[in-house]
Amino acid sequence: MTTRYLDLNYVLPMPALTVSIGRVGERPWLGPIEAVVDTGADMTVLPLPLIRRVKAHPVGKGRLRGPWGDAHPVVFFLVELQIQDLRLPGTQVAGDEAGREIILGRNILNKLPLFLDGPQQQTDLLDDATANRLRERRKQA
């Protein structure tokens, strides 16, 4: 499965994936929505209006810190996410009151075999066979 980089609203094209959102244990029905792939983000962030629409349960409170140290209080929610065909049950996300984009952080990205094809501006979620072939090649190198 492949997703085109986002170029509207970004100075340089941004790697992206499409996600759908739902309540834990339910089919993710809201989406697909484009989400930016951000390996610099510890945590996945969703705009609060999307979380409100699926009526996800809040589970806790924390802080999100920006690159220059400014920290904002946030509420964490547990949601059911689907990234293309891959279902991620019970994923913790931070609710963002001000933001309008979905940021996929490393709590999710570290579970995905991704190929960021910069020159072609495509993000590919690799199937098992391709990911395993690359892993084998790495072992042999």
Binding site: V11, V24, A41, R52, V59, G60, R63, G66, P89
Partner: protein, 123 residues
Amino acid sequence: MTIVTLRPKLAEQLRPEAERRQTSIEEMVNDWLEDELWEQRNKKIHEEAERYQAMHAQLRAQYADKVIAMHAGEVVDSGDELLAVYLRVRERFGDEPVLITRVGVEAIETYTIRSPRLEAPLP
């Protein structure tokens, strides 16, 4: 289903808004009430988080790195996996707000977003 009767004057006030949204008054009022309940649950999580912060040192001594569920200041469940604790809590408490968190070193965990964005094209 519970039938709630709206005061006639209120129903008249709601009609144009429902038409603007291309929905029925009944649907719109149900959505609003659901939103309100959701907001209330969010507020209660803040209160629960304050109780958790106040008790963090003693909870850390007992549940270090475990996931706990806290309701009205009481630990009502614990375990190793967030999702497993969440599912048990939902079974027991339905939509009631329950704080579910891993008892880490800090009472309030901080996550970093390290990606600054350019606001203008590169020179």
